[in-house]
Every structure is written in structure tokens, then in C-alpha cells.
């Protein structure tokens, strides 16, 4: 009986592993093939049978992708936009979340309700009015136009996540600072923010990735090639060299490298951030 159970458990575990591995292959294969293609000379990108380990591996796609179309410039643009957006969006949403989590004031319910509306509305439905607004504010064709709208666009989700985190910080800790004469700003800066580092890391990562990857808004408002960001630059490779897949994927690999590095380092925060957001909601 016991032996049978052990054997059965063993079978079940093997089946589990087999299924999970099959799934993992499906998930990883496209990436592996993409990397492989980025090292292929153009003549071999559509060869049958496909070469998973290119016979004549070359790094020329990378050097060419980096030097053509000011790709290095796009990288710097993306980095600048993503960093400024992340700093602004995290600070502003933390302040909003603090107000909503710790204070009672007229209009609080309405403000929170409007933030929930902002979470629900499909992001691209506002594209046309946002375009007209950016035009009026002279933000078309400028990286600031990306920063302002990316920051505003990330506030709802960040505020929602941070608010629920702040609510879980024991009020007694703040009360002690009130007794010592600490004003709201001191409490926020010296107590709430340092205690919320994990949550701040989560929203910072989300914001950074969202702005790093954003395509549609940048496509819509940026015309000047010197102001392109990476997603635009990559899509451009498709348009210009529709058959130069090696080039497309060398550029893609350069763009997703930092993303995967960030993900690998902050994996745990990532997963907990998504899960708490969902399970609490």
C-alpha cells in the first residue's frame, strides 16, 4: 500500500515535470530561435531545415543594427524617457496613495473612484483627444510629450497598488511621530517611503518597463527620427528591411536585454507585486 503510494506519487511528479517542461519549451523556443537568427547572415534566416546553431555565425547584424538609423540614439532616448517617467510617476503616485490611504478629506471617495475609472478604460480610446491635447501643449514631436503622458498614464495603477500597501503599515508607527511633532511630509518621507521600499520597487519596475516598451503613443506623436525610441526603431527595421530578419532580431535583442536583466534581478518583487494587486482586488 505504502510502496504503491510512493510509486504513484513518483509517477505523478514525473508527469508534472514532463508537462511543465513541454510548456517551457514552447515558451522559450521562439526566444532561442530569435537569438539564433540574430547571429545568422541574411542568406540563412529562412533556410530549411532551420539552423538552430548557425553554421556561419556572425555578429555583423549587431554592429550594423547599432550603427544604422541612429539606433544608439534611440537607446539613449528610451532610457532617458523611462528613467524620468519612473521617478516622476513613482513620486506622484506615492503622494496620492498616501493622501488616499491615511487622510480623510472631502472628495476622497470620488477621487479614488475616478482612479478606478482610469484603470478600467482602454488606454488607446483616449488617443485622439490626447493627441489634440499634446498639440495644444506643444508636446508633439518631443520626448517631454512622452514623459508627461507616460507619467499620467501610469498614475492610476501605481496609486492603486501603493494605497493598499500603505494601508497595511501600522498607524501606531505614524502616531509616534505625530506625538514627536512630525508633520505629514516628515512622516511620508521618513517613515512611509522607507517602509514601503518593496512596493515602491514593484511600481518602479512596472513603470519603467511600460515606458521602455511603449509603442503606440510614441508612433503617434514623434515624427523626428532623432527622437525615436527603441520600439519605434525596431518596427522601422521591419518596414525598411522587411527581409533582414537578422537585423530586426539583433535590434530586438539589444532592446529586450535590459528588460530581461531587470526581470531576472527583481523577479520576486515582480511576482509578488502582480499577485498582491490581483488577489487583493
Amino acid at each position: 500500500m505504502v510502496v504503491g503510494n510512493v510509486r504513484r506519487a513518483h509517477t505523478v511528479m514525473s508527469a508534472r515535470l514532463a508537462l511543465l517542461s513541454a510548456g517551457a519549451v514552447v515558451m522559450i523556443l521562439p526566444f532561442a530561435y530569435m537569438l539564433s537568427t540574430s547571429f545568422k547572415p541574411n542568406a540563412l534566416v529562412l533556410s530549411i531545415p532551420p539552423q538552430f546553431l548557425p553554421h556561419h555565425a556572425t555578429t555583423s547584424n549587431y554592429t550594423q543594427a547599432w550603427s544604422s538609423n541612429q539606433f544608439g540614439h534611440y537607446f539613449v532616448n528610451s532610457l532617458w524617457v523611462a528613467v524620468v517617467t519612473t521617478v516622476a510617476a513613482v513620486l506622484l503616485s506615492a503622494m496620492m496613495a498616501y493622501a488616499l490611504a491615511r487622510f480623510r478629506f472631502p472628495g476622497r471617495t470620488v477621487a479614488f473612484g475616478l482612479i478606478l475609472v482610469g484603470l478600467m478604460v482602454p488606454g488607446l480610446m483616449m488617443l485622439i483627444p490626447q493627441f489634440l491635447l499634446a498639440k495644444k501643449l506643444l508636446l508633439l514631436n518631443s520626448l517631454w510629450g512622452l514623459v508627461v503622458f507616460y507619467t499620467g498614464g501610469n498614475l492610476a495603477l501605481n496609486t492603486f497598488l501603493l494605497r493598499s500597501f500603505f494601508q497595511d503599515i501600522p498607524w501606531e508607527l505614524e502616531e509616534a511621530m505625530v506625538v514627536d511633532g512630525g508633520g505629514p511630509w516628515t512622516r511620508f518621507w521618513r517613515l512611509i517611503l522607507p517602509l514601503s521600499r518593496p512596493a515602491l520597487a514593484v511600481v518602479a519596475i512596472f513603470t519603467f518597463l511600460a515606458s521602455w516598451d511603449e509603442f503606440t503613443w510614441a508612433l503617434t506623436i514623434i515624427n523626428d527620427p532623432s527622437k525615436y525610441t527603441l520600439p519605434i526603431g525596431i518596427a522601422l527595421f521591419q518596414g525598411q528591411h522587411s527581409t533582414s530578419w537578422g537585423l530586426v532580431f539583433a535590434a530586438s535583442a539589444i532592446a529586450i536585454g535590459p528588460v530581461i536583466a531587470i526581470f531576472a534581478v527583481f523577479q520576486r518583487q515582480f511576482v509578488s507585486g502582480i499577485a498582491t494587486g490581483a488577489v487583493k482586488a
Partner: protein, 330 residues
Amino acid sequence: MRPSRLTASSNSGTTSDPLGRSATALRPRFRSTSVRRRKEITAAYLFLAPGFFLFALVILYPIVRAFQISLFNWSIVPGTASHFLGLHNYSRAIHDPIFWRALENTGFYMAVTVPGQIVLGLATAVLLDAHVPGRGLFRTIYYLPVVTSWVVVSLLFQYLFITDGGLANWILHDNLHLVGHNIDWLGTRWMAMISLGILGIWKGVGWAMVIFLAALQGVPVELKEAAAVDGAKAWARFRAVSLPAIRPVIAFVTVMLVIGSFNVFISVFLMTKGGPLDETQVLLTYMYRWAFSYLDFGYGSALSFILTLIVFVLALAQLRLFRRPAEARS
């Protein structure tokens, strides 16, 4: 919440604070609390104002404005007047066969990707909800497509789905001999929609999995074990114990995925461009075409607004659908 006990006590006499209802229990003990209360309210507004102003400017105002623009024959040339059309742009949509096709395609995309992501995400989460060796690694691998940009994965799948020389056809045709000829993945309407759906599922499974896994780990072990002692088989056990316990999370994931599926844009825009001959347009690519190729902002806004209405109605309907049985049980 808690600061109210300290700060809202002097507020009992005023009606301006909609949240001050419970404060009557605590009569002001100190004169200074009133001053402090006022200071706290001011502080709250100062904390809220900068972010909320930006949020209102770039999100809330455009939502209202989208509806307003949709009522006009919007002129983008400065100095020329826009003509008020009433609901004309909406009736135009109703009589536009490509709008209906785009709606159908979007609905198809939803019908494929939402169940696909939920079933596969849940299955993966169940498989991982045990002491599996290499669990962290599996989770990372499944989550990888979620963090990769839509632009990159769209181009990648376009490459994999190339008819002659693409990896998908090589595996299915040359390798497994499952199909007799190379499939034209992106060249015809329904095959293209299926290809887009496959990409959508592949990209989103990891997201659903992570959330389901967190929810499953929240199901008390004693419950699962109790069912096991009863001799319940694994499937029955799952249905009787785990599934009801994570029902709210399934509801949440479903709602989010439905909203997400109506937002499909980049993959269609890059992989088929809505073609051939508008066969694979979805609502947002069609909206984008009218707005930024034909510069008809009025009609584009009407299409956006229809999309928003559909998403809201679907979200509300689902929340109600998911709520009812749970309430009946309790």
C-alpha cells in the same frame, strides 16, 4: 482609515465631510484638534493635488473629450470650424461593414485568447502548486513573454509564421507531418486571426499563471488534505475545494483579460496591418486608420467610444455573473 480617530473628531458638527459620519462618537476633547484637522485636510490635498492634476489632465479630460469629438465632423486644420453632427458618426459605424468585421475579429480574438489563457494559466499554476524541482525556473520561463515588448514578440511571430521557411510550418509540415502543405498563416482572415490568437495566448499565459498560483497557495492546506482523506480523487478535489476558493481571482483575471483582448492593437498593426483588404482589422487598428491615416478624428473617436462602452458593459456583466452563485452559497 485609522487617522480619522485622531483627526476627524472635531468634524462631527460639519456636513462637508462625507466620511465623517462615525465621528459623532468622539466629541472634541481638545480645542487644538480642530486646527489640526484643518491642517491635515490641507496636507491631504497638497499630497493629492500634483498627481491628480496630471491624471485629470491626460486621462480624465481626454475620456470626456473623446465623446465630445465623436459628435463632430472634427476639423484638424486650425482656424476652420468643426461641424456638429450629433450621433451621425455612430450611425455611420452601424452602416459600416468593415466596422462590423473589425468587431467580429475583436470578438473572435477575445473568444480565443481569454479561455486559452485561463485554462492554460490555471493548468500551469496547478502543476506548479506542489514541491516541483526547478519551480522558480519554470515560473521565470513562463513569465518571460509577459515582460517582453509587444513590438518584439509581434515581429518574432511574424517571422515564425512565414509560409515558406518559417519555423512553425517546418515543425508542423516537414517535421511532424501534421499538415499536408505549408500553411499560409497570415494571408487569410481566419488563419491570421488564429495566428494572432496564438501569439496572444503565448504572451499572456504567464501573467494568468502567476496570479492563479498565488491564489492557489492561499487555499488552506488543511482543506485540500481533508478532501484527500475523504478519498476524493484529484480532479474532484480540485473542483470541490480549490476552484471555489479561487473563484474571485478567476473573475478578476477574466475581467482583466477581456479588457486586454479588446485592446489588441500592436500585434495586428505590425503583423497583418489589418490586411489583406481590411480582412483582419480589429477595432483599434480600424480606429487608428481613420484617425491617423484619414485624419477623420470624429469617426475615430466614435469608434473608440463604442469600444469603451463594450468593454464597460462586458466588465459589468461578468462581475454580476461571477458574483451571483457566490452570494447564493453564502
